[in-house]
Amino acid sequence: MKPPSSTSLASPSKPAGGTKAKRRDISVRFCGIAGDGVVTCGRILAGACASLGLDLMVNDIFSAEIRGKGKSTTTVRFSSRIVHSMGDGVEVLVGLAGKESIEEIKDVRPGGCVIYGSSIPGDLPEDDSLAAHVPPNIHGFGVPLRKLANQATGSNQGKNIVAMGALCYLYSLPQEAFIEQLRKNFGRKSSRALEVNIKAFTLGFEYCKEHYPLSFELEVLDTLEPRPLYTGNDALAHGALDWGLKFFAGYPITPATKIMEICAKELPKNGGWTIQVEDEIAAISNVMGAFFAGKRAMTSTAGPGLSLMSEMIGLAVMAEIPAVIVDVQRGGPATGMPTKVEQGDLNIALYGGAGDCPRVVMAPSTVRECYTGIQLALDLAEKYQTPVIFLSDLFLGQRMVTTSIPKRVERDRCTRKKPFPGELGTYERFKITEDGVSPLLIPGEEGGFYTITGLEHTPSGNPNFESNVHSMMTEKRYRKMKAMCVDLPPADVLGDKDALIGIVTWGSTLGSVVEGMELAREQGVKSKVLKSIMINPQHEDSFREFFASSARIIVPEVNYEGQYAALLKSRYGIQPVEMHISAVDPVSPAKIANRIIEVQDELTH
């Protein structure tokens, strides 16, 4: 990673003053209640930063309620270096709703600041005033948000944009980038909307310029180009759409619904279709029907929906029907916590089938991998005639980041194995082959017929319950899982290859782990992490090698049971240090770093 240059983003007209505190990266949290425009703030700040070529990550946290008084926050972390995670704490808290923001102050890092709406003293009881709770090691910037908003818009609306102006000034960020975002955001509505919002922004900016000489500044790298913004759900949907998806069947469920909504919009543009069906059982049934009929198909859901699909996924295994099932995990069990993140569905993804029921389980770690990974999922499903469960999660699905989506590559990586014309006379749907994959005719194609079934069956597909037939077909179904390895990406080692502390994690937790490793490294403790999008099957040799080269293994994951750790223990016979991280919020890199350091201490003592 290149060391940061000293260039600053401040507009050239404004000399970089020596009084400005330098920041390597900045996290800003907007906190408010419904109607405060918290999400808009996040989008505008993110848009501005992305247009400046910064790397960033946005995380929204909504309250449980439908609407009403629930609190919500948006946090934007931006940097000129790679942003792996939401980090620990924030630099800036923008308290749009004063009272609700008080408990967020604990997350503001020392030396950071709080922007709050200043009001006439005594207006509020002391306990409810944000200003009164700002501790001495944090800068408090009072801005008369309501007054200035009123001045700009003639109403109470616009406090968020006033605060944005203040933020822009205080962190020496280029005004034009923000104005441009305001234009994008409000220009479409009406010129009056745009005008009053620019006014609000300017009032906030000018107020601070007038009252607060002190400011901060972000260190940046030299060459920065505007970057596109994606959420994991966006990337996943577009990955599939760009990879030949033709049919989507689904049932709404937080936090997966967005994927269906994108597909509903985009698929008909290319002759594809999205149907919202009556439940998740129908969704997976429709997908299997469509894939059986030769079209790439997918569904997306969360834990409750995946549970309902268990039986049909078993059929996909038995009858060798391709299917891609995206599970955007949320807190469980049961209805659980629909708006909170957890990595709790690994067990059901791996084992949630009656009988011996091998299935492919994948878990992307980054927004980019949502895009590339879902393409691999579609490929594997089609080529190996198997269900693929793709475990995203709420944090990965909803976080917004700057990312680069790769050009289409390896278009023909995995395609359906078709029977040779010569084979047709004796066509067998479930022909025994070395790799377990049988050549596949689809309806409408000439040369053979078959009936697929969830009953155990002979190679030609006829029901049969003899012991040797069952063994032969079970082996075939498991053999595909081995054969698939040729098409799988290798498991990568990140970090210090020679470190004795090895970390294995899965899914979206990787970002925090990478950042935690960097923090530990700053403390002089080296570590490495094995990154694999594949949970089952895996390149087992890479894992074995990694374990052999590590003195201690740490397995951090966001669930109580240590679901991945259990798999690794049973598959590889290791005895790892397990980190079962409680759900709800993104994983703290500092906690990871601490654990790495602790383990290092144990190793050396």
Partner: protein, 286 residues
């Protein structure tokens, strides 16, 4: 009473011409001799021949049950899915490949019991598939438990003191759900069954054939004999174009009417998809 038995099927097989859907594959029907399900099977053989449907374009979908074995006995592509899931599987197939002829066969337990949540939606969306409900008012494959269409009071393995639930009427359900073709037929009437199946497959939209198809092995209450006592053809002047009228005739318990209860022309789901595609072509967002 002349029951349909395997002999009929074997005769059918012998008459079959190669490459026609009427010819089943290497599997002989495993049903009990006299089982009602033979008649609609024969109906599919003859309907697909009459309609000249090439077996490569024919997909038979089913759930689980004696009735669920249907696809194994038909030449074409078959999808023997899970108990109750024939309809959503068929919906996926049809939306993905509207050019295929898709027929679903299933039992009363399969379609009105466990699969009862799917039936309304394929019907209301007017998915262009044919659904043959082989109703024997019993769970045949699991050896004789009550079903949602079993009469009140019926003794079965799970209702030793008599069924205390009231039955649902699949024909009425199909009508209420919005099926655009609804017929009822008695499995004893082989010609009418063939005729109904043919009309149903030919119909554009969700077509439903309610086959009263006795289980000679396990149902001692709903039998060829008991059905014959209550069944009657629809009045000769009956016109199957009025929805409420159709429900009234479908609901009638004595007599139980057979024939085409309802038939209407309505754009199918695929038709509406086409309309959207057309619109998209004209739109600049494409």
């Amino acid at each position: 009473m002349s029951l349909l038995t395997k002999r009929h099927v074997i005769e059918g097989l012998q008459r079959a011409k190669t490459n026609k859907a009427q010819q089943h594959r290497d599997v002989l029907p495993t049903w009990c001799p006299g089982c009602g399900h033979f008649t609609p099977l024969q109906g599919v053989y003859e309907a697909t021949e009459r309609l000249n449907i090439h077996p490569k374009n024919l997909v038979l979908v089913s759930g689980i049950g004696c009735s669920g074995r249907f696809p194994f006995f038909v030449k074409g592509f078959g999808f023997h899915s899970l108990h109750g899931r024939g309809i959503p599987v068929a919906t996926g197939i049809k939306i993905a490949r509207p050019e295929l002829t898709v027929v679903v066969a299933g039992g009363d337990g399969d379609g009105v019991g466990i699969g009862g949540g799917h039936f309304p939606h394929a019907a209301r969306n007017n998915i262009d598939i044919t659904y043959l409900l082989l109703d024997n008012s019993i769970y045949g494959l699991t050896k004789g438990q009550v079903s949602p269409t079993s009469p009140f009071g019926m003794i079965s393995a799970t209702t030793p003191y008599g069924n205390i639930g009231y039955p649902l009427n699949p024909s009425t359900l199909a009508l209420t759900y919005g099926a655009t073709f609804v017929a009822r037929v008695f499995s004893r009437d082989r010609d009418e069954c063939t005729e109904m199946v043919t009309q149903a497959i030919a119909h554009k939209g969700f077509s439903f054939v309610h086959v009263l198809s006795p289980c000679v092995e396990f149902n001692k209450f709903v039998t060829y004999g008991s059905i014959r006592e209550t069944i009657a053809p629809l009045p000769s002047d009956y016109v199957p174009d009025d929805h409420v009228h159709a429900i009234q005739y479908a609901e009638s318990a004595s007599p139980v009417y057979h024939g085409v209860l309802f038939k209407t022309a309505k754009p199918t789901y695929s038709d509406h998809m086409q309309t959207v595609f057309e619109k998209m072509k004209g739109s600049p967002t494409n």
